[in-house]
């Protein structure tokens, strides 16, 4: 096999894995710090994408449309936390079902508002060449975006007072309050950061994945599997799992068909859960 082809496959697989990681980080934050599986995560991603799209349509440059999308999804996330999620802490499966119901509402809402197809955004297409192969530049840039976002979230949660408070609030909610942490505000912020990250993903991936009401579903499903396989050490575990599962599936898909790539993803998930019944990081002695 030609080295150029191999390099192309590896680079594009790494970029697929990075895209998965970007789409999953918000889920990992919410699960890792709050013990909540947000089944509406995919729909928040979709809301982010539509927000960015609408922003560009009214003339805001794409670079500024991304923060707009983050703000909007954070806001909606905050409201959802107050109205729904807050009442269900400690009831894992109830939160899953409630956020899933919410996801259905968002999804149908988007169908009503935007219809089922929508225009992509016009972005100049750059590409790079490796030997005789050519790769689109934007997906490759996602590798850097994924690394940057991961580093940002990691530092935010381990090096700041907010991060300490957020972790304390989920680990022992009552004691967090008893030592002076306003847990309900912290939890609202954490959930909003999680949904904001979903919104960021939707917006930043918009040039690759056009906005449709059901765009989030595919990512969300793979995201749940990734996060659950990762286990309790949410960030490091998720990064590793996303690269392993997403990258592996993409490599498999390049050599075979995309269905076999998906089959690889699901089979690898099943195998890892079988080997690590509580997630791959269940025995790691790390904070996040």
């Amino acid at each position: 096999m030609e080295p150029d082809y191999l390099a192309t496959v590896l680079l594009s697989s790494l970029s697929s894995a990075s895209i998965l990681l970007i789409a999953t980080l918000g889920l990992a934050v919410v699960y890792g710090l709050m013990g909540v599986i947000n089944l509406a995560h995919g729909e928040f991603l979709m809301v982010g994408a539509y927000s960015a799209l609408t922003a560009t349509q009214i003339g805001i440059p794409y670079v500024l449309a991304i923060p707009v999308a983050v703000m909007i999804t954070m806001l909606i996330g905050g409201v959802v936390e107050v109205l729904v999620v807050r009442r269900l802490y400690g009831r894992l499966f109830d939160t899953m079902l409630a956020t899933w119901g919410l996801g259905m509402v968002f999804n149908q809402g988007a169908v009503l508002l935007f219809g089922t197809v929508s225009p992509g955004i016009g972005m100049p297409q750059y590409s790079i060449r490796i030997g005789e192969f050519s790769l689109a530049a934007y997906p490759l840039a996602m590798i850097a975006v994924a690394a940057g976002t991961l580093a940002f979230v990691y530092l935010l949660l381990t090096r700041t007072v907010y991060g300490m408070k957020a972790r304390a609030s989920i680990q022992e909610p009552e004691m967090a309050q008893a030592i002076g942490i306003d847990s309900s505000r912290i939890n609202m912020l954490t959930f909003a950061i999680g949904t904001g990250l979903a919104g960021f993903a939707g917006a930043v991936l918009l040039p690759i994945i056009p906005a449709t009401p059901s765009m989030g579903l595919f990512f969300a499903v793979k995201g749940f599997l990734t996060v659950v396989v990762a286990g309790p050490v949410a960030l490091t575990g998720t990064a590793l799992t996303a690269v392993g599962l997403g990258g592996g599936a993409s490599v498999t898909a390049s050599f075979m068909t995309s269905v076999i790539g998906d089959v690889f993803f699901f089979l690898a998930t099943a195998l890892l859960l079988w080997l690590y019944p509580l997630g791959i990081s269940s025995k790691w002695r790390r904070k996040l």
Binding site: V161, K165, E172, E174, M175, G180, K287
Partner: protein, 232 residues
């Protein structure tokens, strides 16, 4: 300084404590005694605001305490719960730092100070709290409560499941905090000897109410009272 007046509360519809009033003066150490299930833990949680009050009032530093536990902590109420409840996936240093920072104290300084008070924690400072032994976790829970620089410290069964030698050390630290730094202490305990080594005065609870108030000497010498009240 610290006062609970006419406290009534419990879990859900069940009322566990009825019309309880106690007070702790500045710099005083008071014990809360009584058999299992008389409502000591409930009273402690009532004082911290972790269970909603049916009626009654809590005063900290002579001011009426608002219902939110976080606000009470910031008024100077330190709490060491039964069962420790340290933050397991945070380091020892972070457990202390988060308590200090949440109350506007400098985290690094507080850690340095508390490590002097608790040399036992020094070699463990970067370890995750969940990996500590029960006794070490108890010490950490105490250090965490002290990190908020409390005026009154509530301790709920601090000796439960802790080896005798660490109990001994804990008694020494508590006495020092009380006499040298003037931190008032309210301590609920089964271990009478431990209690008597710290507290000068005691409330005895029975069936969710205060049965009597007594002092150290009377408790220590009156075997009949010990037998009757505590089943010792």
């Amino acid at each position: 300084m610290f006062k609970i007046s006419n406290a009534t509360g419990g879990y859900g519809k069940t009322i566990i404590i009825r019309d309880v009033s106690i007070s702790v003066k500045t710099g005083e150490a008071v014990a809360l005694l009584g058999r299992n299930g008389v409502g000591k833990t409930t009273l402690m949680r009532f004082a911290t605001g972790l269970i909603p009050s049916k009626s009654g009032l809590v005063e900290i530093d002579d001011r009426t305490a608002p219902p939110a536990p976080a606000k009470r902590a910031r008024m100077g109420l330190g709490y060491v719960p039964q069962g420790r409840f340290v933050f397991p996936r945070m380091s020892v240093a972070e457990n202390i730092a988060v308590a200090a920072a949440s109350n506007g104290h400098d985290a690094k300084e507080t850690i340095a100070e508390l490590l002097l008070d608790f040399p036992l924690l020094k070699p463990k400072v970067d370890d995750l709290a969940g990996g500590l032994s029960g006794g070490q976790q108890q010490i950490l829970a105490l250090a965490r409560a002290l990190a908020i620089k409390p005026k009154i410290l509530l301790l709920d069964e601090p000796t439960e499941g802790v080896q005798p030698s660490i109990i001994d050390e804990m008694a020494g630290v508590l006495k020092r905090m009380n006499t040298e730094r003037g931190i008032a202490i309210l301590i609920a305990e089964q271990n009478l000897d431990f209690c008597l080594s710290i507290a000068d005065r005691a409330y005895v609870m029975e069936k969710g109410s205060i049965r009597m108030e007594t002092d150290r000497d009377r408790l220590r010498h009156d075997k009949a009272l010990q037998q009757e009240l505590l089943g010792v």
